[in-house]
Symmetry: C2
Subunit: 232 residues, 2 copies
């Protein structure tokens, strides 16, 4: 059991916004709190940073215990340390976000918390416990900005995807600022030459099947190294 006295001076946590993309919607993984404070409210997955643990490692651990996933995109965003942000004492938290492929994915974390976890679409991710609304806002804003500099799409999409899925992903992230024109989007994304046409098509859809693509990781890395601009 967590005893606040043990962290009397000040406690250190990480909180993690885990983004996923499913059915055309951007979602985050939240946990329903079982005890006070903020009982029954949704909160971000987070945990204390162990004395011998690097910050990034703590964020990875939180993600791993909850989802069983490893080696995902993870980025530190900002540290929230308002004196009264936690009702039980001084708790300073480092906010991270990570990008995860939801598709065909069950929560198989080791933590008992994973029972209480749920993917919530970002429009419904309001009224969170603590200052987690603020943390979500900061992370989402960072993602919106980051997506203009790096092709993060392939962290969120399944290995094979259609151009329409990719466009919907961008719209979900950039919403409501941008309604993207289909032809211009395709022209631009294809001109970057980071997509590989798999010469396969969707199956079992009641309309013309779309072609499937995958990301070309090598070319993507070359672009990143060259300080490449990904404005959509």
């Amino acid at each position: 059991m967590f005893n606040f006295e043990d962290y009397a001076k000040s406690a250190f946590t990480v909180d993690n916004i885990i983004f996923g993309f499913d059915q055309g919607e951007l979602k985050i993984l939240l946990i329903k709190r079982g005890e006070p404070p903020y009982t029954n409210q949704w909160a971000l997955p987070g945990n204390f940073v162990y004395p011998n643990e690097d910050l990034d490692a703590a964020a990875e651990r939180v993600l791993g215990e909850l989802t069983g996933l490893k080696d995902v995109y993870l980025e530190q965003v900002r540290t929230f340390g308002e004196v009264n942000r936690h009702p039980l004492g001084r708790v300073i938290t480092v906010a991270y976000y990570s990008l995860v492929k939801i598709k065909g994915y069950n929560l198989k974390g080791t933590s008992p918390l994973s029972q209480k976890a749920k993917w919530v679409s970002i429009e419904n991710a309001t009224n969170l416990a603590f200052d987690h609304d603020q943390i979500f806002e900061a992370c989402f804003r960072r993602l919106k900005r980051r997506v203009r500099t790096r092709p993060l799409g392939f962290e969120l999409l399944p290995r094979k995807f259609t151009l329409t899925e990719l466009q919907q992903l961008y719209e979900a992230i950039l919403q409501p600022e941008k309604k993207i024109d289909k032809r211009n989007f395709r022209k631009k994304i294809l001109s970057m030459k980071i997509l590989v046409d798999l010469n396969e098509a969707q199956e079992g859809v009641a309309h013309r099947p779309a072609k499937l693509y995958k990301f070309d990781k090598k070319k993507y890395e070359k672009f990143v190294a060259e300080g490449f601009n990904f404005e959509i």
Copy 2:
């Protein structure tokens, strides 16, 4: 005297990269360490976060004690928490940078540290104590990016400045990526209408005197609110 036992579990600090611009050079304010570890090496100004102090307030305090300045541009960048980053124990630090007008400015801080402070041009700001090289890199990278989205120039320049000074500032920040074309720079910056022509001229220079400008703060704020793009 600082006793490490008092912060046994883990200690919390802020470190502040204080940028200034003088004689065409971008500089940061460093402190020569007087005691171990890293005696006689240059280090970033920093301090512990007090139990009842917000993070931003701690960063402002560090700046104020050192320079006597208030109300300057201050931005949190990233938190550095590697287990072994501090030889005496676990110290997690939140990095900030601030932008300061050096011009005609003497260090008049209340802290005894201000005796040991010096403006160092960024090319010479290497081999700092602790992981401060890394922190400097992160803050400088952030400044380079930020300057493309917000007209931060007027935080670093004196109230009245010439277009050449402004261009030199941009070159110092964006170096070595960009050599800026004089005519294109002027065309762009003037088309933004955030500069006011003061109808005054430089005095005492051995060449054609340049016109003086100041920033129009209201228009700048309107631009920022509208999510304005400042690519140079």
